[in-house]
């Protein structure tokens, strides 16, 4: 006997996620002339990591005459430790200027020079000034509001407060998804011809993270379960963030650009500007991997301050106050609210997980390895390797979202509406509802804490085999012992946040397993990926992608060499 659903939703293109990538993809698909539906966990224009993005970067009319796209491509690939998929990376660099300028059609306004031209500045890791932003370095917020206004103009329907719990399949192709409306507690199927995953990163598996708490890897977990290839899951960007209070542990202490000709200084407990030892040439303007590694080394070698010796200090005293307030608004306000004076006090910081760089493997049409499933944004893997050069986050989000929207729309125009397998639908319904029916067990928060502690202990900035083995054992134990008894304390179906958290922690545990297994496979140190048992690059095999997929109930991993089509490593890079 099959369950009958009262309201089955139908759409040509389903976009899962309402961030920068999700909204951009929805607009593109809508303009292609098909019916689009966006499902997101938060509210439109709100629950997204992009609101905190500082800038975009591209070689456009605002750049020096001698700056070229080739140079930009080289910067990005070099910075990412040659782990970029160069075909895709080239597409990103080529299409970025158009994508960024396009935002001015949507009402955004890039900061200008007095003569009316766009004003670029130098971002760390770039060889030329090509980074652009809006007033007060709030490019992400402006971009999200520009896209939101276009969504409203086109009246594209958005299901807010809706978590997509799983994908639906028909004859090996994606046929839609199952949604949980967290406000009413209703579980319902959404049939779609094309489905775009734009769910963002999965940084919430670490205790300290910069993206919003909704970034729980739902997309990668669903895609993996459906059988899609995943790529370079082991990569995570670590970045310096404010140390306390907990709420602000996620506000970046940015060394990404200069403030009035100078950078903020990073100091250890002896007051020494420690980057002088690690990168005397670039100092704080070094790439993110250098900053992360030196921060980590300082703490490990006992030069950290604070009660547990796990914090370092940033000094803003030498910066012009107005400039600092304008460009580091978040940081300055937080310091002032804590009663610190930026002209003389230090702010303590420590490393946190920024963006995870692994995810669904896509081709140039943003197709995953399963027909009907597309991906964009932080949920995709290996576009620019494993370091975060400024402007790459917003960059790949908008370029590949536009492509995902375009090609998803193309497919939707060609096929008829699929009817998903009823068995799968019933099984998913039961899986979701059963969590609420369980009488007693572990709370999702407790399980998440355990998971986060494991990842913090054994999957932090520098890893080794022993730690990874321990982490894997812990994650497997969580999957086998804890997850089957996760239950909610309240049984109300009205905005039961624990219910959503329970589903999220299941996804996180799955993604954590993928990350750990990929990390065990990568026996080298490369850009942001660091191991103390393999402190060198693997120059014998050269740069390799690590691809994994579900093979029955086993996780199958393999390496494929990176095609060095456009940029080759020089010397010992």
């Amino acid at each position: 006997m099959h369950r009958m659903f009262e309201d089955v939703m139908e759409t040509d293109v389903l976009v899962i996620g309402g961030g920068l990538a999700g909204l951009r993809a929805a607009i593109e698909a809508h303009d292609g002339g098909v019916k689009v539906l966006v499902a997101m966990k938060g509210k439109l224009g709100k629950a997204t990591a992009a609101v905190c993005a500082y800038h975009g970067a591209a070689v456009g009319p605002w750049c020096d005459a001698d700056d070229t796209k080739e140079l930009h491509l080289k910067d990005v690939i070099k910075c990412g430790g040659y782990l970029a998929d160069q075909e895709l990376c080239k597409i990103m660099i080529d299409e970025l200027p158009e994508r960024l300028i396009e935002f001015e059609r949507y009402g955004l306004f890039w900061e200008r020079n007095d003569d009316g031209t766009i004003a670029p500045y130098l971002g760390s890791g770039h060889s030329k000034p090509r980074t652009i932003s809006t007033w007060r370095r709030q490019a992400g917020l402006s971009m999200i509001y520009a896209l939101k206004s276009e969504i409203l103009r086109r009246r594209i329907p958005v299901l807010e407060d809706t978590m997509v719990t799983n994908l639906l399949i028909k004859d090996g192709e994606i046929a839609g998804a199952v949604g949980l409306d967290i406000v009413s507690g209703k579980v319902f199927p959404i049939n779609s011809k094309s489905t775009i995953i734009a769910t963002g990163s999965h940084s919430v598996m670490f205790p300290d993270y910069t993206p919003p708490p909704e970034c729980t890897g739902d997309g990668p977990a669903m895609a993996y379960e459906a059988g899609a290839d995943m790529m370079n899951m082991e990569n995570v960007v670590y970045i310096a963030t404010i140390d306390h209070p907990g709420t602000w542990r996620g506000i970046i202490v940015p060394t990404l650009f200069k403030i009035g000709g100078d950078v903020l200084h990073l100091l250890n407990k002896e007051g020494e500007r420690f980057l002088e030892r690690y990168d005397p040439e670039n100092l704080e303007m070094a790439t993110k991997d250098v900053v992360a590694r030196s921060t980590y080394t300082e703490i490990i070698e006992g030069r950290g301050g604070g009660e547990e010796g796990d914090t370092l200090y940033a000094d803003l005293a030498h910066l012009d106050y107005e400039e600092a307030n304008n460009k580091l608004g978040d940081l300055v306000t937080c310091m002032e609210e804590m009663g610190l004076d930026i002209r003389k006090d230090y702010i303590s910081f420590r490393p946190a997980a920024h963006e995870t760089l692994g995810g669904v493997r896509i081709n140039a049409r943003c197709e995953s390895t399963i027909p009907g499933l597309y991906a964009a944004g932080s949920a995709i893997g290996a576009i620019y390797g494993n370091d975060g050069i400024p402007g790459r986050g917003t960059g790949h989000a908008i370029v590949f979202a536009q492509r995902a929207g375009k090609y998803a729309c193309e497919r939707a125009r060609q096929i008829s509406m699929p009817q998903p397998d009823q068995e799968l639908l019933d099984a998913e319904f039961l899986r979701v509802v059963n969590i609420l029916d369980r009488e007693r067990g572990l709370s999702p928060g407790e399980v998440l804490k355990k998971l986060q502690e494991t990842m913090r202990k054994n999957f932090w900035v520098v890893k080794n085999d022993e730690g990874l083995k321990e982490a894997l054992a812990n994650i497997i134990r969580i999957q086998q012992e804890d997850l089957p008894i996760v239950s909610t304390s309240s049984k109300s179906k009205r905005y039961n946040i624990e219910w959503q958290h329970a589903l999220e922690v299941i996804n996180l545990a799955k993604v954590a397993e993928m990350m750990i297994k990929s990390a065990m496979m990568r026996k080298e140190t490369r850009a942001m990926f660091m191991r103390d048992d393999y402190p060198q690059k693997d120059n014998v095999n050269g740069p390799q992608h690590i691809v994994l997929r579900r093979n029955k109930n086993e996780m199958h991993l393999e390496t494929i060499p990176v095609k060095l089509t456009y940029v080759q490593p020089e010397g010992d890079e």
């Binding site: 629950a47 009402g107 200008r112 003569d115 007060r136 103009r153 306390h244 209070p245 709420t247 978040d330």
Partner: protein, 306 residues
Amino acid sequence: MNDMGFMRVKVFRFDPTKDQNPYYETYEIPYEKDMRVLDALVSIREIHDCNLAFRHSCRRRRCGMCGMLVNGKAVLACHEAAFSDMVVEPLPKLPVIRDLIVDTKSYEQKINELRPYLERKKAETEPELIKPYDMLPLRQLQTCIECYLCMSVCPVLELGWPGFAGPSALVQMARRALDPRDLLERTAERTDNNFVDCVSCYSCVNVCPVKINVLEDAVEPLKAQRQKKVIGRWARFNSVFVELVRDRALVNPTVWMLKAFSIPVLFNNIFVGVRFLMKGKISLKSKNVPNIEDIKKIYKATEVKK
């Protein structure tokens, strides 16, 4: 972290599908240095009740989702300092979805009615040249995060006058209307009183977490734009004000209202009028300014010639 003892937090609880009435629950949580209200709520979730419902996302006042009342003051939980014995409640005037989460649909609708998007021609060469000076009025406006704190304190919105859009909506409107690239006619057309009813009380300015001067950067420029386009036609409220200053050198609110509003509007608001009268906010007695002729001379001397 250095614990400095415990603190008590009183939190509004309500699940409309189960509870008959809202109630308050008091929790004891460890105090941490520089703790924010959001830290306290997360701590309650971890220690006492995993099901306490509240929204938060970015944790650095960019998403505008954690708006709530702390001791009656509208704040963003992510930036407000926590203190012992604080009372945390949902934003007022909106239906409660659960606990501290309110349904903001009515506000969103008000914004959507104002066509919150830029209607522009595609520039001939992109990117076009734009002088930063032309965009100055928009700078602060584009940092609005739609947290609706301003909406929750707006006294005019509370009156429920039809058509008044509310501060947050007017920021979104001004953001487009003041953009030199925008082609839509937004301020001249008379569909409702979406901004002329603002009483300039600065309540919205005082609560704005991203320091937008809603009044001086959004509402006043909108009024000025409308004044330029439709002088004398719809800006009755303002022109009567000018008339009163010119003729009597004194603005008597009663006379102002009687002259500015049409009879049906006056009739509809008769109870508000009576309330104001009883509280002594308006009076039926009219005062006269001595040496009115001298003041008229000043007015004449300073009048701007058209």
